[in-house]
Symmetry: C2
Subunit: 472 residues, 2 copies
Amino acid sequence: MSELRQNRSDLKAFFEPKSVAVFGSLKDGVGLGYGVIRNMLQFGYSGKIYPVSPSYNGEVLGFRAYSAVNDVAEPIEAAIVITPPPTVPGIIEQCARKGVKAAVIVSENFAEAGSEGAKFQQQLVDIVHRTGIRIIGPNTIGVFNPASGFITNPYLTIQDKIRKGGISYCSQTGYVGLAAKPLEDLAMPVSKLCDIGNKCDVDESDVLNYMADDPQTKVVAMHIENVKDGRRFMEAARRVVARKPLLILKGGRSEAGAEAMVSHTASLAGSEQVYDAVIKQVGALRLNSWEEYWEVPKVFAEQPLPRGNRIAIITGAGGLGVVVVDVAVESGLTIAKFSPATKMRLTKLSPRLGGNPIDLGPVLTVKEDPFSVQREIIEAVLEDENVDCAAVSVYAGFDALIAPITQMFDSLKHNKSKPMTIWIYGMKLHVLDEMLCQLESRNLPTYLDFELAVKALGFAARYSRTKMEAIV
Amino acid sequence: MSELRQNRSDLKAFFEPKSVAVFGSLKDGVGLGYGVIRNMLQFGYSGKIYPVSPSYNGEVLGFRAYSAVNDVAEPIEAAIVITPPPTVPGIIEQCARKGVKAAVIVSENFAEAGSEGAKFQQQLVDIVHRTGIRIIGPNTIGVFNPASGFITNPYLTIQDKIRKGGISYCSQTGYVGLAAKPLEDLAMPVSKLCDIGNKCDVDESDVLNYMADDPQTKVVAMHIENVKDGRRFMEAARRVVARKPLLILKGGRSEAGAEAMVSHTASLAGSEQVYDAVIKQVGALRLNSWEEYWEVPKVFAEQPLPRGNRIAIITGAGGLGVVVVDVAVESGLTIAKFSPATKMRLTKLSPRLGGNPIDLGPVLTVKEDPFSVQREIIEAVLEDENVDCAAVSVYAGFDALIAPITQMFDSLKHNKSKPMTIWIYGMKLHVLDEMLCQLESRNLPTYLDFELAVKALGFAARYSRTKMEAIV
């Protein structure tokens, strides 16, 4: 890869700027410029903030407002722009002259809205080429970095404590914004969020290169509709896969989907077969749904990779286990055959145990201390050399079970070299919500859907195989 | 179908008995016999209850206890048995002599546990053949009928107000018990729950025949692992499909799944290809996961059938819509082309509208009353003669949106002849939980997963086509 390209993928100024200018209405409480500053404060952004608005005098949330970016004496690294399209090229031009490196243009109504908007977007492209300033957007909610507290989303969010973790999400839609997904309640371990919007400059390949290099990013989940430069994309994707898993959700699989895509981002659709081949060739994993996009990465962020594809399944009811075995096989996993030693350990706990999947149901109803039995079962299967990973059912039926379940996992002599996912089920949504949050914050990937808990391990095993094949 | 067979499928005494004998420990607060009586009272069962235990004197929860069923002077229609396996054949024998028609045997450790248990199970089969008493189980949590309050589950449940509705769930595992799924919080419209356990007598075909005839059952969701009598099953399934949709989740698709199945219920696996062909041939719909098992039926219970497969998709973000279009196409739906009149109505609301999927995002952020715009959009597409069904995104970001959203749907001039599903998304789990419950109780099938909301309509369109082909 050429040095120029790598440099152009240095997006650090977008995610960790030391100073930022905000262009947009500063009207108290309702302006979008005001909103983005309020959000930065809420998430503890500690860089310098310079509100800029020709129509505003005085202070905004404790920051002096400027009528033009040029009036600011200090250097400024980044800009957030939320003003009407006709004003945006002028603002970006001023930012470039001031030495701003990175501008996020949140405003809508550019190329996606018709020829008038497309004209303004082309002006932005010209400025990028002429000056070297980088742009994310327009038509985007931009970026969020829980670690630095930097956020470009101007809309009210009532999610305050996003958990810092290893997943970086990148998307071509605002669905990755904090307004759309209860990431806090789900205790999702987030490294970065990024919506690349209309991609007038920064594109999926730049983001991939950045995320490949970013040490906080342990896994990349990317939603794309189209790719600007196929060769560059493949180079960047390969760089990611060599270091960390890359999961791709590609919109527009179907002809109708591709049509819808064109009208949504004014982007051209490529051949579906080509995308599928490229994703395979670079060693990335293809996601099938938005649900997988959100839920699969956490197994990579929270658990080690499996060394093989042999799964142990601990289920709460036999019939459940059978369906889940089907899902495991369809996800590329094989059902582990326990060693004689493990079988002996298990049958000591109950004569009904020893097979895989393990049906907890008949065991727990007769044991006085079901949690210690569960713990022993989980330990036994994870310590078996014939087991590479485990999907574990946990019955979180009612409030009183939350504490003993968390205690059970805290006291687990978990073989930390093998990944485990957890399925919780029970009678009350609020109990399940709370249980999930408690287990996730212990880095235990927890699901409300057993099949998803198994599929996630299937993805982990597939990436693991890709890695090993690369070494061999 | 022979008259004998139809009579043998009359399972009314299992779901609406006027009187029931309970065999099991009556120990205050902890006995399983005590538990099932407590549960019946909790759900308002108004039939007569006769606790039976040789070791118990006095009253249980206000009911006089008997030492033997024969001591009861009045006739008894049903029995619930939760005693150790060696005692069960004797109890069933006594019940048969007393004239009990239907016995649910909850106790475990029969054929599924080894040869000793299999011996007792065979004794039960002999009694059935000799006396004509019917048995559900053993190794089951049995039945639940929210309308009559009749329940055979002895375990503590903290779900009190299960919503009465049209879905009958039948399964070969206790997962359909009230302990495992938050049916109350989900406001799931339940007609009957039934776990057929080891199927020593009553099997899937009996249940299908009963559910075909049951006027409260609007849709049947059945989980099976194996079928006892293929021909009878096909007859029964056809009877259901002629009247109401039949959705089947079949465990053991994979070889490993089939193996797991054999060890779980001691039942023989059939050929997967045969099952698939049979399900298609009778016009039933095959479900792919436990998630679909729980979530798909509600579209049938709460909405009319679509007359065709043309879907309108209203999305909250363009990129979301594209992925969902893919799912729609893969579910057998086609993306509706709006009529010129609808396009005009939509473009009047916003020049950006007119295509399908409809992206609400850019519209709602600029409108002062987003709910009236959303309402008008939903009305416009449902009134379009080129549209058969609609999947609608609703942003339930925070608490304050719950009331206006419910008001919007209450004031909707909804074309009640066309089905609609709703996807809700937002920032807080408790808001989504509450919103879902509110909309479900208005008979609006609501999902936390957009793809599932679309898939459900795909199932509805497929059943609709089956029906129409049958007429032609």
